[in-house]
């Protein structure tokens, strides 16, 4: 976004505070999987608002189309069938960026300002600063960012940061015909979810619950699930997502420590030279022995 932002809480590869004087309300999208009918209006609205078009694909025996998220498809209805709970269930989950409070993509990104986290919770890619290294793909616990083969930049759901910044709801929310998708303050969305969960429990879904995983600090896209104890049933939604320890080590302690150690090594050489001094060969020795 080229709009001036005064509400940036985190900016990739940046060690000083970004403009954050303006505090905005923390927002969230709530996806009520139990109300979703799999119509894909959200998918279509996303492409329409963002002026993207997916290539026409092929049917592989499922309604899922395209088969995976792409640089053009930032949201995707994933269709899963299961008999785990004694009856056949068709579990449809709208997949896309979860807008983590602790975003692994942002932690891994080496390009200053390519990934931005706003105080409202939206994690946005600024593709003009993206260098195409794909570190964000390794950082993400949800397998969301997609590297475009057109321009080698990564793309993902922006939670319609352009719409939200002017007081509109995301395009997918606007298009949903069953109100399976709702948008508002995170607080309100949790409250709404709790009502829905209470209702589901009354209807026999004893394990209904909210998916707002603590391992990534909570998310700004949350799910109401009928089987919150088995998120894996919903096309492999991770049970306890967190930034991989490998990425945590690499971008956490190792990055500053290794940088300091290299600077120290170079300085140690300099101070050795000005204290002990160089090791010189006296060419006179040559004549003595010759």
């Amino acid at each position: 976004m080229a709009l001036q932002s005064l509400d940036i809480v985190r900016r990739s590869a940046t060690t000083t505070p970004s403009p954050q004087q303006r505090q905005t309300m923390e927002v969230a999208k709530l996806i009520d999987v139990t109300k979703c009918i799999g119509c894909k209006a959200c998918q279509a609205a996303c492409q329409e608002w963002n002026d993207l078009r997916e290539e026409v694909g092929v049917n592989e025996g499922s309604y899922q189309n395209p088969h995976d998220l792409t640089a053009n498809s930032w949201t995707l209805m994933r269709f899963a069938e299961t008999e785990e709970n004694g009856t056949i269930e068709w579990l449809i989950r709208k997949d896309g960026c979860m807008h983590c409070a602790d975003p692994g993509c942002l932690k891994a990104c080496p390009a200053p300002g390519a990934i931005i986290q706003y105080s409202n919770g939206i994690v946005d890619f600024h593709e003009e600063n993206c260098i195409g290294c794909g570190y964000c793909i390794a950082g993400c616990p949800f397998d969301i960012p997609r590297l475009s083969n057109k321009d080698s930049k990564v793309y993902k759901c922006t939670l319609c940061s352009d719409r939200v910044s002017v007081g509109l709801e995301p395009a997918c929310i606007k298009a949903c015909p069953t109100q399976a998708l709702v948008f508002g303050s995170k607080e309100d969305m949790i409250e709404h979810a709790n009502d829905r969960i209470a209702d589901l429990k009354e209807r026999g879904f004893g394990n209904a619950g909210l998916y707002d995983p603590a391992g990534v600090g909570g998310t700004h896209v949350m799910y109401v699930l009928h089987h919150a104890d088995q998120p894996g049933l919903y096309s492999d939604l991770p049970k306890d997502p967190a930034i991989s320890p490998t990425v945590g080590l690499w971008k956490g302690i190792f990055k500053p420590l290794a940088t300091a150690a290299l600077a120290f090594t170079a300085l140690a050489g300099f101070f050795h030279y000005v204290t002990v001094g160089p090791n010189e060969t006296e060419e006179d020795e040559e004549e003595e022995k010759a």
Binding site: A13, T14, T15, P110, A111, P112, N129, I131, G132, C133, G134, Y135, I137, A138, D143, L147, N149, S152, S244, T246, V247, L249, W250, F254, K255, P256, A258, T259, A261, L262, T265, A266, G269, H272, Y273, V276, G277, P278, N279, E280, T281, E282, E283, E285, E286, E287, K289, A290
Partner: protein
Amino acid sequence: MSTHHNPPPLVRYSPAERFNHWVTALTFLLLSFSGLALFHPSMFWFTQFFGGPTWTRILHPYIGVVMFVSFSGLALKFWHHNLLTRNDIVWLRRIADVVRNREDRLPEVDRYNAGQKLLFWTMIATIPALLLTGVVIWRPWFAPYFSIDVVRLALLLHAVCAFVMIAGIIVHIYAAVWVKGTIGAMVRGTVSRAWARKHHPGWYRRVIGGK
């Protein structure tokens, strides 16, 4: 006497060996600067040496392949001079004398001292590891063929190996500046007889004896 002229210097590296060394050295410098730029934001400005951040990302892996091939030449040429001996262990134990310029207290050194040998084996370990991990994380070409956990591990190992290698090369460069008469060996190919006698007496005797 002013008319006295020194005996001719000793040849330490052939033109081909020097060429091979400097291709490796120049590619190493390019790789270090481009790699460090993407490692810590304090060094991101190094990307300006490469035509900007995206060019840095594009060029780095190709330069890496050149360095690997070039280093392979050095490895094949010099490995047999770098086998550790009993004297090397003594030399390493007396590292305090080494850094204080007290060669007289050190065991006899042949073509390479124990420090040079350890650097050689450090490079033997890290450069192939950097190539392998580098291929795994190379986008857009190869990374999609590996599972995400393999890519994550490769990213960490690539950074760790690069750190070890760069730290090693800082010592290598400093040693060449510190021990006077050394840089000429790799620039012009020759060293003085006094230098050879002082730092590599075993090698000196073999070279003189062979003549």
